[in-house]
């Protein structure tokens, strides 16, 4: 947890630097990389532990999330979103959700992000028109709201009942495998699965209709 706090401070420093130097994102990335290397070098424990790797992936995911929101160029934002999705897949692997990690990479980082990349390339967006943020009051209100929201979430996490419904049960055989997920999808959640297929069909028809040049 001490590592996590250190990472959060590094990310906050990088964000502050980014705010001070609005046209120098490369410098921010460089400073963050240096900070990460220093942090790894002074890490007190063993490097080959779960905690270290979880912290490293968490650091990359937070940094990429901040860059999605702050980078002026939407194309760079998409690339960092893909990085973030890969970090999420690694988190899923750490939580023994192998099937979901594979689906995350294939469906999310593979299919959905291709859609984003193609639309941005099709619109040919420049960095300058991408970066307009809201007016002063709305911007600061949003940042204040975000800080309050984060504080609320941390408060909820600190006060949650850690062992209300958890006795450390053993995992059932096949937890997180495709077979168990499929069995669950087509037994307990059959109706939801069919509803999802209808939703996908409706979205497909809607997207085709909306993207058509003119309706006849």
């Amino acid at each position: 947890m001490r590592l996590l706090m250190g990472l959060v401070f590094v990310v906050m420093a990088a964000a502050a630097l980014r705010a001070l130097l609005p046209r120098r994102p490369g410098l921010t990335a460089f400073a963050a990389a240096v900070a990460a290397i220093v942090l790894v070098g002074f890490y007190p424990g063993d490097l080959a532990t779960f905690d270290f790797w979880a912290g490293a992936v968490g650091f990359v995911s937070i940094l990429s999330a901040l860059l999605i929101v702050m980078h002026p160029n939407p194309m760079v934002s998409v690339l960092f979103l893909i990085l973030n999705l890969f970090c999420m897949a690694l988190f899923f692997l750490m939580l023994q959700a192998q099937t979901l990690a594979a689906l995350q990479v294939i469906v999310y980082a593979g299919a959905i992000m291709v859609l984003f990349v193609f639309v941005i390339m099709l619109l040919n967006l420049k960095a300058e028109e991408g970066m307009r943020v809201g007016m002063g009051p709305q911007r600061w209100a949003a940042i204040g709201f975000g800080a309050a929201f984060a504080a609320l979430m941390f408060w909820a996490l600190r006060h949650r009942h850690g062992s209300a419904f958890v006795e450390p049960k053993a995992f059932v055989e096949g937890f997180g495998t495709a077979r168990d997920l499929g069995t669950l999808l087509f037994s307990d959640y059959l109706f939801a699965t069919e509803a999802a297929s209808v939703l996908l069909l409706a979205a497909m028809v809607g997207a085709v209709l909306l993207a058509k040049r003119r309706l006849e």
Binding site: I62, A65, V69, N84, L115, G130, R139, L181, A207
Partner: protein, 99 residues
């Protein structure tokens, strides 16, 4: 294994996505921030599925991915139609239905 770390990560990512939706004016970046928030929720689902030793959370995360795919497809089609009519992707320029 305690899952608090993953919950903290999900909370931070959700907050970043939320602030992104509020401060950015580019519609595509707003859509990306929404994807970020959906992913944070997915992480929470999977973390609690791990803690409760139940795969229901995985099913829910799968449905969230499905809904995110639909949302991205329709949202980007709307962005394309908007750009074709107005030559802009700025949400402040689209104020016809705003009071």
């Amino acid at each position: 294994m305690r899952i608090d770390f993953f919950l903290v990560m999900a909370a931070l990512l959700f907050t970043v996505g939320c602030v992104g939706v509020l401060i950015r004016r580019n519609v595509i970046v707003i859509l990306m921030s929404i994807e970020l928030m959906l992913n944070a929720v997915n992480l929470t689902f999977v973390a609690f599925a791990h803690e409760m030793r139940s795969m229901a959370g995985h099913v829910f995360a799968l449905f969230v991915i499905t809904v995110a795919a639909c949302e991205a497809a329709v949202g980007l089609a709307i962005v394309l139609a908007l750009f074709r009519r107005r030559r802009t992707t700025d949400s402040d320029d689209v104020s016809l239905m705003r009071w």
